[in-house]
Symmetry: C2
Subunit: 138 residues, 2 copies
């Protein structure tokens, strides 16, 4: 079933008292951070912050995601307690995905970042031009 099993070896983290320091390899928080900030995780959480959505609504909103990756992403986020899956046993089946309270707090911080990046894209694009121009004339 192609899991994203975390499999922290034995030690949760380093011997420090910063219990979940994401900077150390083999700390479970790093994996969660990757689930959250990853290519599809960030967009999925962002989309769900706006409203709860069904599977195919999500697929359309997160432009470019495949069925497989969306399914995988949702499972990982559900497992981490950030997304709640609400299945209605109707026919045809209807499944809604919504953020948990914890997921909402994560998504808020994520969206703050996302919106900031979108807002400042002109500056980023300028920086790229300067950088590429400087490179070109070397």
């Amino acid at each position: 079933m192609d899991e994203i099993t975390t499999a922290a070896p034995t030690a949760p983290c380093d011997g420090t008292d910063l219990a979940f320091d994401v900077f150390s390899r083999s700390c479970p928080s790093r994996r969660t951070l990757e689930n959250v900030t990853g290519r599809w995780g960030s967009l999925t959480l962002g989309a769900l912050r706006e409203s709860s959505l069904r599977f195919n609504e999500l697929r359309r909103r997160v432009d470019g995601v495949s069925e497989k990756m969306l399914s995988q992403t949702l499972h990982a986020l559900e497992r981490d307690g950030l997304v709640h899956r609400e299945a209605q046993p109707t026919n045809p089946p209807r499944v809604d995905y919504e953020l948990t309270p914890l997921g909402r707090e994560v998504a808020d911080r994520l969206l703050s970042l996302i919106h900031f990046v979108e807002e400042r894209m002109p500056a980023v694009l300028d920086a790229r031009q300067s950088y590429d121009a400087a490179r070109g004339t070397l």
Copy 2:
């Protein structure tokens, strides 16, 4: 040189007036978001927010990153105008990396997310146990 050249095809984004909507494929902001939130990008920005660092200091701080990936990550972030590279022509060479003002604003939002995730890891770990337990008994 194994670039991370963005190469937006022609259209910057979708035909919408949301100029840089990260949710649409082939919008440059999505690539920048990936540079920022990616596996190594997020940790690199997080580390540099605390203090400016030299190449090998960064390598040690961002536990697990290879020379190649750190180099690549730094180039991408520098190109996007988030990181400034200060090389001193001494011998042995000394190069310091520091955030630009824009990079600092991005890193602040990123660290808000990172710290929140670290802080809530116990809840995440609990959620995982419940999820896995429920799966196991199916």
